[in-house]
C-alpha cells in the first residue's frame, strides 16, 4: 500500500514537472530548429536580454504587477476591514460578490471590463490595464485578510477603543499590525496573479502598452522557439522565488 502511494504521488509530480524540466533543458540547447540535443549554450538567454522590445514588455509587466499588487493590497485590506468591523447596508452583498469575483472565469472579467472601458471611452493602455489587474486582485487580498481578521478575538478591537483609540487608530495600531502577514501574502499573490494573467490583459490593454504574457502568447502561437524556452524558464524562476518568499511570510505568522 505504502509503495503504491509513493509511486502514485511520484507519477503526479512527474506529470507536473516533466514538461517544465524539458522546456528549461531545451532553453540551453544550442540547436535552433530541431528538438535534437546539440550541446549546451547560453545564446538564447543572451539573445533574450538583448531583445529590447521584449525587455520593454517585461518592464511593463513588472511595473503593472508592482503597482497593482500595491494598490490591491491597500484596497483589499480596507475592504476586508470595512466588512469585518462595520455593519452597513449592502455589506452582505459585497461579501458575496467578492467571493463570486474570485471564482469568475477570467474571460468574463476581461470582457466585462472591456465593455466598461469602451462605455467610458477610455483608451486601452496602461491605466485600463492597471485598473483591470487591481479588479482581479482585490478579492483575493480582501478574502485572505478577512480570513485572518475572522480568526481574531473581536474583543481586541473593543479593547483598543476602550483604551481611547478612535477608528483610525484602531486600524493603524491594532488591525493593520495584526493582519500584516496576510497583507504581505496578499501582495505576493496579487503580484503573481498580475504577472501570470493572459486573458484579462488580452482584453484590457492596447498596442501602446504591451505586457510580457501577451508577448509570449503571440510568440508561442508561432510554434516552438528556443528564445521562448529561455523566456519561460526565467518566468518559472521568478514564480518559484515569489512563491518561496510568500510562504516564508505566511509561516512567520505562526
Amino acid at each position: 500500500m505504502r509503495t503504491l502511494r509513493t509511486v502514485y504521488a511520484g507519477l503526479v509530480y512527474l506529470f507536473l514537472y516533466l514538461p517544465l524540466a524539458v522546456m528549461v533543458a531545451y532553453s540551453f540547447n544550442s540547436s535552433r530548429f530541431s528538438m535534437a540535443w546539440k550541446g549546451v549554450t547560453l545564446d538564447w538567454y543572451v539573445k533574450l536580454f538583448g531583445n529590447s522590445s521584449l525587455m520593454q514588455a517585461a518592464l511593463h509587466s513588472l511595473v503593472i504587477a508592482v503597482l497593482s499588487a500595491t494598490c490591491s493590497s491597500i484596497l483589499g485590506t480596507l475592504v476586508a476591514m470595512a466588512l469585518h468591523r462595520w455593519r452597513f447596508p449592502s455589506r452582505k452583498v459585497i461579501r458575496t460578490s467578492l467571493f463570486v469575483m474570485m471564482m469568475s472565469p477570467d474571460i468574463v472579467i476581461g470582457i466585462s471590463l472591456l465593455v466598461l472601458f469602451m462605455a467610458l471611452s477610455l483608451p486601452l493602455g496602461f491605466w485600463t490595464l492597471l485598473m483591470a489587474h487591481v479588479t482581479l486582485c482585490v478579492p483575493f487580498v480582501a478574502i485572505t485578510v478577512f480570513g485572518r481578521l475572522h480568526g481574531f478575538d473581536p474583543h481586541v478591537v473593543e479593547a483598543a477603543r476602550d483604551l481611547g483609540a478612535g477608528e483610525y487608530e484602531v486600524f493603524r495600531y491594532v488591525v493593520l499590525p495584526m493582519v500584516f502577514p496576510a497583507v504581505l501574502a496578499g501582495w505576493f499573490l496579487s503580484f503573481t496573479l498580475s504577472v501570470d494573467d493572459v486573458i484579462i490583459s488580452f482584453f484590457t490593454t492596447g498596442p501602446t502598452f504591451e505586457v510580457l504574457p501577451l508577448r509570449i502568447y503571440s510568440m508561442v502561437r508561432l510554434g516552438l522557439k528556443p528564445e521562448v524556452n529561455a523566456l519561460c524558464a526565467v518566468m518559472i524562476l521568478i514564480t518559484v522565488v515569489a512563491v518561496m518568499l510568500s510562504q516564508r511570510f505566511l509561516k512567520e505568522k505562526q
Binding site: 474583543h155 481586541v156 477603543r161 476602550d162 483604551l163 481611547g164 495600531y173
Partner: protein, 381 residues
C-alpha cells in the same frame, strides 16, 4: 423592583435609568435602573443570557441602549463612543493585543492620550509592579500563562485611572486554585486603588467573596440588589433564593397576617413566622429554609434525651423519614421526606469523635430550626 434599585445616595458614579436593549427583536434588558456608588465593588450575578454582560457593554459604550439613559460621573454619556468614556474594561478573553509585548499592551491607553514617553515608561513600570509582573515588559503576551495574561489585562485597564473598572467574567478561564487567589488579589487591588469595580459573573461564591453589593439578574431585569449577606439571608423571591445557594421550599398557607409577621400553617405547624410581605388571610405562601439552618434528630434520640427534646421543641419542628444521605466531605446532607408531603435537605456536620454518617435511610426524624431564620414569601407558580 425599581425603588430598590435606585436608593438615593450622593451622586452615583454610574447611573442607568430605565435602560432597555433589544437585539434582533429579543429583549436583552427590560427597563433596568441601577446606581453604582463611588468606590464600591459591585457584582452583577446571573446565569448566562440574563443580560449582565449587556449592562457592562452599555457602561463601556460598546453598545447603545434601545431606550433609557446612561450617565457616568453625573454626565449623560448615552451615544458617546467607548474611547471617550472614562471607564475601562477587562475582557473575559483578556483581548490582549497579540502583536505587542507586555509593555506595549499596558502602555496603549497612555499612548492614545499622547503622554510623553518618559511618563509612560514610569507609569507602566509602576502598574506592572502593582500586579506583580515586574520584569515581564519585553515578553510577548502569547507566551504568558493564563494568570499572567489576566494580570496584564488588569494592568492595561487600571493604568488609565478609570473612574470605573468593568470586569467581564475575568476569572472564568482560570483553574480553581488560581481563581481563588485572583479573587483575593482583585479585592485587595480595588481597596488599594479606590477605583469602583463592576464585575460580572455567574459564580455566586465569587460574587459573595469579593463584593460590597450584589445585583442578581434574571431574564433581562434586576431581581434584587443588596449586600451578599442580605441577598443570601433575605432573598426577595424564589428565583434569587434558588440562584444563590441551596434552598428548601415548603408550601404554606397564611392564617392570620400581622405586623412584620404572620401566622402560617404548614406541615402540621401553626405558628407565627417573620414575614416582610403584606399577606392576607388565606394567601398561599412559601417557607424558605437554608439546609445549613436545619437541625435533624431521630425521634428515638429525642425520646431518650429530654434536654434535647426541650431544646428542639422550642424551635419549630416538622416530621418525616430519612430518604438518603449524601456525603460531601466536610459535611453531609440528609434528605428527609416529610410526612405531610415534600422533601427537605439538611446539612449536618460530622461529630468531632465520629466520622460516620449518623442517619440511616428510613430513620424517623424531626427537623427543626431557630425561630426567625425562615423566610416567608408570597406563593409563586
Amino acid at each position: 423592583m425599581a425603588d430598590i434599585a435606585t436608593q438615593s445616595t450622593p451622586e452615583p458614579v454610574v447611573r442607568l435609568r430605565n435602560v432597555t436593549k433589544i437585539y434582533d427583536g429579543q429583549h436583552a434588558l427590560r427597563d433596568v435602573s441601577l446606581d453604582v456608588h463611588r468606590g464600591e465593588f459591585l457584582t452583577i450575578l446571573g446565569p448566562s443570557g440574563c443580560g449582565k454582560t449587556t449592562i457592562l457593554r452599555l457602561m463601556a459604550g460598546f453598545e447603545g441602549a434601545t431606550s433609557g439613559s446612561v450617565a457616568i460621573d453625573g454626565r449623560d454619556v448615552t451615544g458617546l463612543p467607548p474611547e471617550r468614556r472614562n471607564v475601562n474594561t477587562v475582557f473575559q478573553s483578556y483581548a490582549l493585543f497579540p502583536h505587542m509585548n507586555v509593555f506595549d499592551n499596558v502602555a496603549f491607553g497612555l499612548r492614545m492620550k499622547r503622554r510623553p514617553a518618559a511618563e509612560i515608561a514610569r507609569e507602566v513600570g509602576d502598574t506592572l509592579r502593582l500586579v506583580q509582573l515586574e520584569g515581564f515588559e519585553g515578553r510577548m503576551v502569547g507566551k504568558l500563562s493564563g494568570g499572567q495574561q489576566q494580570r496584564v489585562a488588569i494592568a492595561r485597564a487600571i493604568i488609565n485611572r478609570p473612574l470605573v473598572l468593568l470586569l467581564d467574567e475575568p476569572l472564568s478561564a482560570l483553574d480553581y486554585r488560581l481563581r481563588k487567589q485572583m479573587q483575593l488579589d482583585l479585592k485587595h487591588l480595588q481597596r488599594k486603588l479606590g477605583i469602583t469595580f463592576v464585575l460580572v459573573t455567574h459564580d455566586q461564591e465569587e460574587a459573595f467573596s469579593m463584593s460590597d453589593r450584589v445585583v442578581v439578574m434574571n431574564n433581562g431585569h434586576i431581581e434584587q440588589i443588596g449586600t451578599p449577606v442580605s441577598v443570601y439571608e433575605e432573598p426577595c423571591n424564589l428565583y434569587v433564593a434558588r440562584f444563590v445557594g441551596e434552598i428548601n421550599i415548603i408550601d404554606a398557607e397564611v392564617v392570620e397576617p400581622g405586623e412584620g409577621r404572620a401566622r402560617v400553617r404548614a406541615q402540621g405547624l401553626d405558628v407565627f413566622m417573620r414575614a416582610g410581605h403584606a399577606f392576607k388571610a388565606g394567601d398561599k405562601a412559601h417557607i424558605l429554609l437554608r439546609p445549613e439552618d436545619l437541625r435533624v434528630e431521630t425521634l428515638k434520640d429525642l425520646a431518650e434525651d429530654p434536654e434535647l427534646e426541650d431544646a428542639f421543641s422550642r424551635g419549630r419542628s416538622i416530621f418525616g423519614s430519612v430518604e438518603e444521605t449524601i456525603y460531601k466531605g466536610a459535611t453531609y446532607d440528609v434528605v428527609v421526606r416529610l410526612d405531610a408531603g415534600g422533601v427537605v435537605t439538611a446539612t449536618e456536620f460530622f461529630n468531632e469523635d465520629d466520622e460516620t454518617v449518623y442517619f440511616r435511610a428510613g430513620d424517623r426524624v424531626a427537623v427543626s430550626w431557630v425561630e426567625g431564620w425562615e423566610v416567608v414569601l408570597p406563593y409563586e407558580k
